[in-house]
């Protein structure tokens, strides 16, 4: 089957593509990030951050850090467990210098594989002990709380469950939603696993497969609740606060409720940061982590649009948020959360 093309169009395409090709060749011979390390200053070095945190937040950190130190930051964005498993598979050949997560299980995964370098003592001193593992191989950088987002026109506040465990009851069939493929929700499940044990978690997940509507992403869950598709969603707090601060397009018809009372559903998840043992830019990487947990980095949490909780250097959180101290979360050591077990249980339950 002969293909003929109007001659002028073809000629134009050849020119355009040839030009592109030439510039592609030129581009590939000019590496963007290979400058030697100056012994006196790290300015001009570049670090690669495997970033599972919200891109916007980490970009704000990176920009402020680069401005202060001259160290370039390249982000590779992905999700917690994707990037965590990726680092494990890459092993000592990993191009990553720093790993930032939204939740701690992926951090533990990398720690357990022995791939993290100890965090500088000064950095650890920025962060209270309950927000980092005893090993000191990584540190908390921010925190987020599990919440219920509900649509008051479909469900009144006194009909809300008192415990996240209630959601396995048959009366919740078709009435609640979550984003099971996301690391956020998987961290919540790991808290349930930690607090209630394997059998109870399996039963809860099996009921969830039956009862819950699965959406992709916390914002989509919130959007569905807002649109009245479903009465209740289990998400993290900041999706709601971000939308309220913007257009309220996806949250105007919704309210938030907290489980509190040390319920597994009151889980406060710690976002982690660590430096890879294989990093060839360890000094710059440690500086980045020190910056994030230091006053400048934590103020980005307070003043920026991320609405995640600040946990380090005694910086207060965004004033729009209920204080972290008022949330009554269960006491869970972030380094004990088991991500592998959770994905196995959720795979067995058919949720992912």
């Amino acid at each position: 089957m002969p293909v003929t093309v109007p001659r002028r169009l073809a000629a134009a395409s050849v020119l355009v593509i040839a030009a592109l090709g030439l510039s592609a060749c030129a581009g590939s011979t000019a590496p963007g990030a290979s400058s030697s390390t100056d012994s006196s200053s790290l300015s001009g070095t570049s670090i690669t951050v495997y970033n599972a945190q919200h891109e916007e937040l980490t970009q704000a950190w990176a920009d402020a850090f680069t401005k202060k130190t001259g160290i370039e930051v390249v982000l590779r964005n992905g999700s917690d467990s994707e990037l965590g498993n990726q680092i494990v598979q890459e092993g000592s050949a990993s191009p990553a210098d720093v790993f930032l997560t939204e939740n701690s299980p992926a951090m533990s995964l990398v720690e357990n594989a022995g791939l993290l370098a100890p965090v500088d003592a000064a950095t650890l001193a920025n962060v209270p002990t309950q927000y980092r593992p005893a090993s000191g191989d990584w540190t908390g950088i921010a925190a987020r709380s599990t919440v219920m987002v509900y649509n008051p026109s479909l469900i009144s506040s006194d009909q809300l469950p008192t415990s996240i465990m209630d959601l396995q009851k048959p009366e919740w069939k078709g009435r609640w939603a979550a984003s099971p493929t996301g690391a956020d929700f998987q961290a919540i499940v790991s808290a349930i696993l930690q607090e209630k044990g394997e059998d109870a978690t399996t039963a809860w997940l099996t009921a969830m497969k039956e009862n819950a509507s699965a959406y992709k992403g916390n914002s989509t869950v919130m959007k569905a609740v807002n649109a009245g598709e479903i009465p209740l969603g289990v998400i993290y707090h900041y999706y709601w606060f971000i939308d309220q601060a913007k257009t309220k397009e996806n949250s105007a018809n919704t309210k938030l409720a907290y489980f509190g009372a040390q319920d597994p559903g009151a889980f406060v998840s710690v976002s982690g940061g660590g430096v890879l043992a294989s990093s060839k830019n360890a000094a710059a990487a440690q500086q980045f982590l020190a910056f994030i947990t230091g006053p400048d980095g934590q103020q980005v949490l307070r003043d920026g649009t991320s609405f995640e909780y600040a946990i380090g250097s005694d910086v207060a959180s965004n004033p729009a948020l209920p204080p972290l101290s008022s949330l009554q979360p269960p006491a869970i050591d972030p380094s004990t959360l088991n991500s592998k077990k959770v994905t196995d249980l959720m795979t067995a339950a058919g949720l992912i």
Binding site: T4, S13, I17, L20, G21, A24, E55, E82, A227, T347
Partner: protein, 509 residues
């Protein structure tokens, strides 16, 4: 057309083509390797579980509903613009190909922001048919133009009604176009990620991506990949055996007259309404909601917009050049030195590219990480994925371009003292300029829209239009996503124009 055989097949060319085909088959080899190394017990534990049953039901449901609908819409539309006196049918012929310019995930985004409750199989079929029916429409259009209307006229004169003529005479002659187009639609359905993920409709591809996001290139993702590859193989074999060796062609020389179009009379009104309805569903609704977001200025102020455009152009330019270079030896062999081996090489390339992109990406992640770490997360790997996925576009263009250059011209140049190589470069290459252009454009524009492989394979810090669009819409930020979607559509227009021009010109022969 003259067929010319040179007795000796140039060995270097053959070697090049074999090496290229072998490299392209890496993902196929990866699937086989996973299947063998995981072993039956491991694999069956991953495969025989209710979740995989759900995915199979969803995926098969999608194929069973969307493919016939695409065929019905595609053939119906082609027949209407080609055989009836519909007012403005030349404009309709172009308009009906326009959904090709809107990538399925952009259409999904448009729909989802207009009708947030759209989801599941119904939503998936709606968007799939809107996005993919042109893949049947274009080959059907080309075939109808080429068909000799004398057959249809004989049928009419022997007393068949127009409808019966269509069923008994036209449709059988469209069989090759329908099967081929249907296969391409089915392969697209198996491979599509973005649109179905937006609709919360889980197919094998979306589930593999979810597993990848939960556990990177773990055994569960790989096992699902094996099932998906098997589905794909079933489709390929099914299409090949249904097509058989039948061909429909005029016997003897002479040209087919243009068909005398049916007068529609009052029926023109409902027919126009149906065609308008198709276009409204395929482009009107998603396009309108896209425009609504794109008209808000905030999205256009993003500092990432220009770098994303540049990186898209660089990566897809690289992909286009590489695919054309890789396709050239194979195209040359199959036109100038046809042999069983040449056909085998070509077949291997088609097989490699029919694997869904997610599997190609998974394979290249694993292979570069474990075997050639130097290529891990480099533009070279992204470009390799583009070559594997889009090679047939280059192959088809080059092969048909080459077939139109008589070897005699080259021989004449040789008798005038040129070496064989010089004759090729000075005589044949310039004559193939337009098919080089088509190959580069079609591949390049495919690469520009590519999402899955780019997400998994690109170097850290890479932002293309497609990945930026995806990252914005994943956060339900429709305003920020809109400019990327608009640029993706603008970039797609030339390739649609090329495809349409191709379909309409095939009739000239």
């Amino acid at each position: 057309m003259q067929r010319h055989r040179v007795l000796t097949t140039p060995v270097p060319l053959l070697a090049l083509a074999i090496v290229a085909a072998a490299l392209l088959l890496v993902p196929v080899g990866f699937v086989v390797w996973v299947a063998i190394s995981e072993g039956w017990s491991q694999l069956s534990a991953q495969v025989f579980r209710p979740r995989v049953g759900e995915l199979l039901a969803n995926t098969l449901g999608l194929l069973v509903l969307a493919v016939p609908l695409c065929v019905a819409v595609g053939v119906g539309a082609a027949w209407t613009v080609e055989r009836t006196a519909l007012p403005g049918r030349k404009i309709w012929a172009i308009a009906l190909a326009s959904p090709l310019a809107m990538p399925a995930f952009v259409s999904g985004y448009g729909w989802i922001s207009a009708v947030p409750s759209l989801q599941g199989l119904g939503g998936g079929v709606l968007i799939a048919v809107g996005a993919y029916y042109p893949l049947v429409y274009l080959p059907a259009l080309a075939t109808l133009r080429r068909l000799d209307p004398a057959l249809e006229e004989s049928a009419r004169s022997l007393g068949l009604s127009p409808l019966a003529t269509f069923w008994r005479v036209v449709l059988p002659q469209l069989r090759v176009a329908i099967l081929g187009g249907g296969l391409v639609v089915a392969l697209h359905l198996l491979a599509e990620y973005g649109a179905f993920a937006l609709l919360r409709f889980d197919t094998f591809t979306t589930a593999i991506v979810s597993q990848f996001q939960s556990s990177f290139a773990g055994p569960a993702a790989n096992a699902l990949g094996v099932v998906l590859a098997a589905l794909c193989l079933v489709l390929l074999v099914g299409e090949a055996s249904a097509r058989g060796r039948l061909r429909y062609a005029r016997i003897g020389r002479g040209a087919a007259r243009p068909a005398v179009p049916y007068r529609l009379g009052r029926a023109a009104i409902p027919v126009t309404a149906v065609l308008s309805g198709i276009l409204i569903l395929a482009v009107g609704i998603p396009g309108t909601s896209l425009l609504r977001w794109a008209l808000r200025p905030e999205g256009w102020q993003s500092i990432h917009l220009l770098p994303a455009l540049t990186q898209t152009l660089l990566l897809s330019g690289g992909g286009a050049l590489a695919a054309t270079v890789v396709a050239l030896p194979c195209a040359w062999l199959s036109v100038r030195h046809p042999s069983r081996l040449a056909r085998g090489i070509e077949g291997a390339m088609y097989l490699a590219s029919s694997l869904p992109t997610i599997i190609v990406a998974l394979a290249l992640v694993t292979v570069t990480l474990r075997v050639v770490p130097g290529l891990y997360q480099t533009p070279a790997t992204v470009i390799a994925a583009y070559v594997i996925v889009f090679l047939p576009r280059a192959l088809v263009s080059l092969r048909s371009g080459l077939a139109q250059v008589p070897p005699r011209l080259e021989e004449a140049a040789q008798t005038l003292g040129r070496t064989r190589f010089a004759a090729t470069v000075e005589v044949t290459a310039p004559l193939m300029a337009s098919s080089f252009g088509a190959a580069l454009a079609l591949v390049g524009l495919g690469c520009a829209n590519e999402l899955t492989a780019t997400l998994l394979l690109a170097p850290s810090g890479t932002r293309t239009l497609a990945t930026q669009f995806w990252s914005e819409t994943s956060n339900a930020d429709f305003v920020a996503g809109a400019p990327y979607a608009i640029m993706l559509i603008v970039l797609s227009v030339p390739s649609v124009a090329l495809l349409l021009a191709d379909a309409r010109r095939r009739s000239d022969r």
